[in-house]
């Protein structure tokens, strides 16, 4: 089975984003960028399925600027077999990404597509579900465990009250949650090897889909700042504060 793993280049999760003074967005100039953490988990899961003999080939795909090549090389260094970059400097919304991915799926005919549950920049949590809708496939979102059982994919999902297990008809879409696995680090020899793995560059126009944005960002602002707090010296003082607030009797 071939597995397709879409990955996104985003601001590194440790960086505190700064809103531009003119309110047009977040300042990404000279900021460290990395692979979206949930996508690393998706790549790792695909590699594990290959190591178990379930998957035969892992294709990673990214939609974004030329620099998204670095993200794809990281995935190749982890163990993916080849990469596709759909290069564009425009911001593509989840709906547009899903439409492009649906075309890639039609070309590549994977048995499974594994995505991250959300990107930590736009926090949308939409692309996997949208792709499943466009393909008419089943979806196993927020996965913390994936088991392939013949033509079915058993997925344990993280839901609000605990865990839920569903059985999906393959081919299917899976989106990863944090607890699915611990992604591996790419070793230096593998990073070197990844440089010679195939990476095809395409343009959105090659796929003939309309990816014009439907949402216009009018303004980006910093959230309201909290006023400075106080430090209390000991537990008695804290108890007094709690009582004053009416929290404790």
């Amino acid at each position: 089975m071939k597995i397709l793993v879409p990955v996104k280049r985003v601001i590194d999760y440790n960086v505190k984003p700064r809103v531009k003074a003119d309110g047009t967005g977040v300042d990404l100039a000279n900021v460290k960028m990395s692979m979206n953490p949930f996508d690393e988990i998706a790549v790792e899961e695909a590699i594990r399925l290959k190591e178990k003999g379930t998957a035969t080939e892992i294709v990673v795909v990214s939609i974004g600027p030329a620099k998204a090549q670095e993200t794809l090389r990281t995935a190749l260094a982890m163990g993916a077999d080849r990469a596709i970059l759909i290069q564009t400097d425009d911001e593509v919304e989840p709906l547009g990404v899903a439409k492009l991915l649906a075309k890639v799926v039609a070309e590549e005919t994977p048995g499974l597509v594994i995505l991250g549950k959300q990107a930590i920049d736009d926090d949308s949590n939409q692309t996997g579900q949208m792709l499943a809708a466009l393909l008419g496939w089943a979806q196993g979102t927020f996965a913390s465990k994936v088991e392939i059982e013949g033509d079915a994919v058993k997925v344990t999902r993280e839901v609000d009250g605990g865990l839920e297990t569903v059985s999906l008809k393959a081919p299917a879409i899976i989106t990863t949650d944090l607890r699915l696995n611990e992604p591996r680090y790419a070793s230096l020899p593998n990073i070197m090897k990844a440089k010679s793995k195939p990476l095809a560059t395409k343009a959105p126009a090659d796929y003939g889909v309309d990816i014009a944005p439907r949402l216009k960002t009018l303004h980006v602002a910093e959230p309201a700042k909290r006023s400075a707090g106080v430090k209390v010296a000991d537990v008695d003082e804290l108890v007094a504060k709690l009582k004053a607030m009416g929290v404790a009797a």
């Binding site: 926090d123 949590n125 809708a133 008809k169 602002a221």
Partner: protein, 309 residues
């Protein structure tokens, strides 16, 4: 504008998250509800009493049990033939379903809105809540998920909606429910608790977490939360996690014990009314957002606090 609100229900009762979604939807126009599931007559009757509700569409069919997205989305798409917006609370169930609906309608979803500025303009958090974007949708129909903590809950009583049965769109045969492991807790549900006591990695192990955090929570009648570190280390189950990728909470009082205050954790609790931090590291980032901070060893301080309350 006619809005269709997804009713989240469990054990025959409407969940609180739905009430916030109703408030958000009422800012757009006429509020209709959708109750989908198996044997949901009681839920529909309760839903019809929510203040400000018009029609309550009821789809009672085994195909909708467990709200599988593959079966529920086509039903919603059909109802969207005569609604202008689909509004759902940003719960794990609705976050699973809504984008599937949006793609089938060929519209972009607006996730996790914080406010309704006008019929087509909304605010939403991006970058783990470090920025608030105001976005305008050009789609004819809107698909929206609502951050529960950003909207007041509609009253559960006083409404007089009319209940209308809708035909089933059937089981699509793509997926099936196998089972669930739901955490049992006598404590208030995290997303609607007025007080939350949360523990982090500094608790060191599961035994300490239960021995130190829970008595304080019980004393205060509080919900219990955790940082990702505490969940990853196995001190408590995943559904305790507060943060960008866990639950978003905004209680009256949030007590963070042994939590450093990483960006991803703050994203889930920084809208709490009062934040109290207990940490032995006086430089921990949590103190930058805390209204009241106590620098000290949690193993000494928290039991003392519990005993003095």
């Amino acid at each position: 504008m006619k809005t269709l609100v997804w009713v989240e229900h469990e054990g025959g009762a409407v969940k609180d998250a739905t009430l916030s979604a109703v408030t958000a939807a009422s800012k757009l126009g006429e509020v209709h509800l959708l109750v989908a599931g198996k044997d949901v007559g009681g839920v529909a009757e309760a839903a019809a009493k929510i203040a400000g509700v018009g029609k309550v569409h009821v789809a009672d069919d085994a195909a909708y049990d467990h709200a599988l997205a593959e079966n529920v989305a086509p039903l919603i798409v059909e109802l969207m033939g005569h609604h202008d917006a689909f509004v759902a609370p940003a719960t794990s169930t609705a976050k699973n379903i809504a984008p599937r609906v949006a793609a089938l309608l060929d519209v972009m979803q607006i996730s996790d809105i914080l406010s309704v500025e006008s019929a087509d303009t909304f605010t939403r958090p991006i970058y783990a809540g470090n920025a608030i974007a105001t976005v305008q949708s050009s789609d004819a129909k809107k698909v929206i998920t609502v951050r529960g903590t950003a909207f007041d809950k509609a009253a559960k009583d006083g409404g007089s909606g009319t209940i209308e049965a809708v035909g089933s769109t059937g089981d699509k045969g793509l997926s099936s429910f196998v089972g669930a492991e739901i955490s049992k807790s006598e404590r208030p549900e995290l997303t609607s608790a007025k007080i939350i006591v949360s523990g982090g990695r500094a608790l060191q192990n599961s035994e300490n977490f239960h021995a130190i955090i829970e008595p304080l929570a019980d004393k205060l009648g509080a919900g219990v939360g955790a940082s990702r570190a505490a969940v990853d280390a196995g001190y408590v189950p995943n559904d305790y996690q507060v943060g960008q990728t866990g639950k978003i909470v905004a209680p009256e009082v949030y007590i963070a014990v042994g939590i450093s205050g990483a960006i991803q954790h703050l994203a889930g609790m920084k809208d709490s009314k009062t934040i109290i931090a207990i940490n032995k590291d006086e430089d921990a980032p949590i103190f930058q957002v805390a209204d009241i901070g106590l620098v000290g060893d949690l193993f000494k301080v928290v039991p003392e606090l519990t005993s003095k309350l």
